[in-house]
């Protein structure tokens, strides 16, 4: 990933982002208020409250089955919340009147299993939604796509099909695909969990770079190193609750909850 190019356009975007941040620094871009979610009898989320500010990187930790993915998927309504509110840029997205597609345009998501479109090459994976959702012309979509592929270090792989790419490369294309929509928030659900260890680095480097450029990110991960280095805040979830949240140094070195300590101990 060292070859990823931070070009002029991105620097401009960074500046714009910073300006936006200044304008509404105190208003969280994303507020999760008392979020509940059950699947039939199974209660998965039991009242989640998290505020995420512009430019902030929030890492969500927690044991398997604690509801991290469910929480993340509620944020762009891939799952319908059972109750509670999700306010995104001041708009309640759980409201039935909200155009969910309009919300999703501004929220990128990266999946554990990449979910690239196998019938399209990397370039067209990145172009498709730009054309269909944002109504960009083919030329513009291609220009943006090439820019984003270069950003994740895959400029040379534009005409490769997903099955011709390694897992790490596929995940980076998936990130480029989300970024091409110019989202205001990026959601990562265990973006590196399906990868072989030697491929994890490349993807994390892209995410790190993205964080440095001021992207607002909600990251579900088991990469403690990434959490420690990159996160502005770490949220620890268990059993459908947020057990503890805080700055990474504090949470990693001096957890308040014994559950957090136990979880961190089991990881190390």
């Amino acid at each position: 990933m060292s070859d990823a190019v931070v070009n002029e356009a991105e620097k401009d975007a960074e500046v714009a982002e910073a300006a936006q941040k200044g304008a509404s620094a105190n208003e969280p871009i994303l507020r999760i208020v008392d979020l509940h979610k059950s699947f039939g009898q199974t209660v998965v989320l039991r009242g989640i409250d998290i505020d995420i500010h512009r430019g902030e990187v929030v890492v969500v930790l927690g044991p398997s089955g604690s509801g991290k993915s469910t929480m993340l998927r509620c944020l762009n309504r891939l799952e319908e919340p059972t109750s509670g509110k999700i306010l995104f840029e001041g708009q309640d997205i759980t409201d039935s009147k909200t155009d969910v597609n309009d919300v999703r345009k501004r929220m990128g998501m990266v999946f554990q299993q990449f979910n690239l479109f196998p019938h399209l090459d990397a370039l067209h994976n990145v172009m498709l939604a730009q054309q269909k959702v944002l109504g960009r012309s083919a030329e513009e979509a291609e220009r943006v796509a090439r820019e984003q592929l270069a950003r994740v270090g895959l400029a040379e792989r534009a005409d490769y099909y997903p099955d011709e790419l390694s897992g790490g490369q596929q995940q980076r294309v998936a990130i480029a695909r989300a970024l091409a929509m110019e989202p205001h928030v990026m959601l990562f659900d265990e973006a590196t969990s399906a990868l072989d260890p030697e491929l994890v680095r490349g993807v994390l480097d892209v995410m790190r770079e993205l964080a440095e450029q001021g992207m607002t990110m909600v990251v579900v991960t088991h990469e403690m190193g990434f959490a420690r280095d990159v996160a502005d805040r770490v949220v620890f979830m268990e059993g459908g609750y947020v057990v503890e949240e805080g700055a990474p140094e504090q949470l990693f070195t001096n957890p308040k909850s014994p559950r957090t300590a136990e979880f961190l101990g089991s990881i190390n």
Binding site: N115, F117, P118, K132, V133, L165, S166, Q169, Q170, L195
Partner: protein, 451 residues
């Protein structure tokens, strides 16, 4: 421009000059011949023999007046002989491309006022190429008609106007030709007819046909003659599928989309339709359409109705193929598309359906094979497709061979297609042929568990 004109003109002048020279020469020759002729040959001697008739024996099974090429026939040639002429020999020039034999050659002199008295003629025959020459033991001096029958005549396959030529020699050594011989019109026969006829005469074919089973199922000459007839039916069957199949695809797709729709009404309609069509025999559906609609006063041309029934039937099967294809696509695809802000329809058309079509191509090919074979059921309602044509020949010949020909016409399509299907299935299961080498890294196949 000028020089060109001049260039064009000059050969014309030259040619004109040449022609003039030729006609002068011709005039001189004619004059010379006329002079010699007037001195030596009396004028009436030229009419010693006159053509009376020249016919071929009709040999068509279908039309009793038609003479066909490449089929056995007989030439009847008759010419009058004037009294006291002394015809010592006669040469018939049989038209080129026509074969004949001297077996059973019959030469008779008909005499008497009514020409009913038959006189044996003593002669020796000789054949030189197309020339059949009769040397008479005694020059014929009697007035009458000389009648000659040539047997085992085979006119050329392609037919045409056959002009026989005849010359005779008188006792004094003068040779004359008989003018005004009528032409024999011969109809050409098709290649398959001639092959079939040729086959019928072959010893091995006769040996083959002496086996009852082989004769009934694999009569070689019938195989050949059925071919063009059944071919007509083949084109009909092909055009039925060629129209019905492409129309069934959008229909099946629409039904599949209705079946997975969130709207209960659409789901209900599609499910009912598919269940009824798949739950009843196609044969019955054909009967209902072909006998029911006319009773209800609805007249639809057979071909259109046939295509419609096939299409509506196939659409139901395709619905299930498409539905299974759509459902087989990983949920992650929909989620990825939706997470990018694409709506349901966009996700379906740009993400799900393109992948679905790749998956279902083998099944669609199988469905095509089924549909093609099922066109045979339309024979029952009188659509002139493959089986129907075969059946008409079977009815007239009593041999099953035409059905075997029909079977070959099915196999010609179904065998290669099922091979293609197998190939496609392998490809769907395995990997698309790659343009680029994959980096030697394991990837996506790893499970979701990370603990």
């Amino acid at each position: 421009m000028r020089s060109e004109e001049k260039h064009v003109n000059s050969p014309t002048f030259f040619e004109y000059g040449r022609r003039r020279g030729a006609s002068v020469l011709l005039a001189v020759l004619v004059f010379a011949v006329a002079l010699v002729g007037a001195l030596v040959v009396p004028a009436e001697r030229a009419e010693a023999m006159e053509a009376v008739k020249c016919t071929g024996r009709p040999n068509s099974e279908d039309d009793p007046t038609v003479i066909m090429g490449a089929t056995e026939s007989r030439i009847t040639f008759e010419a009058s002989i004037a009294e006291g002429e002394g015809v010592s020999s006669l040469t018939l020039h049989i038209p080129d491309g026509t074969s004949f034999s001297t077996n059973d050659l019959a030469v008779t002199l008909l005499t008497g006022d009514d020409l009913m008295t038959r006189n044996e003629v003593d002669y020796t025959e000789s054949v030189d190429g197309q020339d059949l020459t009769l040397e008479f033991a005694e020059p014929i001096t009697q007035e009458g008609h000389l009648n000659i029958l040539v047997y085992e005549v085979f006119f050329p396959t392609e037919g045409g106007e056959m002009q026989l030529e005849a010359t005779y020699e008188l006792t004094d050594g003068t040779e004359e030709s008989i003018e005004g011989i009528p032409v024999i019109s011969v109809e050409g026969i098709s290649l398959t007819e001639s092959i079939s006829q040729w086959l019928e005469e072959q010893a091995w074919v006769q040996a083959w046909n002496s086996n009852r089973f082989l004769h009934l199922f694999f009569d070689p000459s019938l195989l050949v003659t059925s071919f063009p007839v059944v071919l007509t039916g083949f084109f009909m069957s092909i055009s039925i599928v060629a129209v019905a199949f492409p129309l069934a695809i959008p229909m099946g797709l629409l039904l599949a989309l209705m079946r997975i729709s969130k709207l209960r009404l659409l789901r209900g309609i599609a499910t009912t339709y598919v269940n009824i069509v798949r739950g009843t025999p196609l044969f019955l559906q054909i009967y209902v359409a072909f006998f029911g609609l006319p009773l209800a006063g609805i007249q639809i041309p057979n071909f259109i109705l046939g295509v419609t029934v096939m299409c509506m039937n196939s659409g139901a099967y395709m619905c299930e193929i498409f539905r299974a294809g759509i459902l087989s696509i990983n949920k992650g695809q929909t989620e990825a598309a939706r997470s990018l802000g694409m709506n349901g329809a966009q996700t379906m058309f740009y993400v799900i359906l393109p992948q679905m079509f790749r998956i279902v191509i083998p099944n669609l090919t199988s469905e095509f094979i089924v549909l093609y074979k099922d066109t045979s059921l339309l024979a029952a309602v009188g659509i002139m497709e493959l089986v129907m044509y075969a059946r008409t020949i079977v009815a007239s010949t009593g041999s099953i061979t035409p059905y075997i020909v029909a079977a070959l016409f099915y196999l010609v399509i179904t065998l290669p297609l099922s091979k293609v299907t197998r190939h496609l299935e392998d490809r769907v299961r395995g990997h698309r042929s790659r343009k680029h080498a994959v980096e030697p890294e394991a990837a996506a196949e790893k499970g979701a568990s990370h603990e």
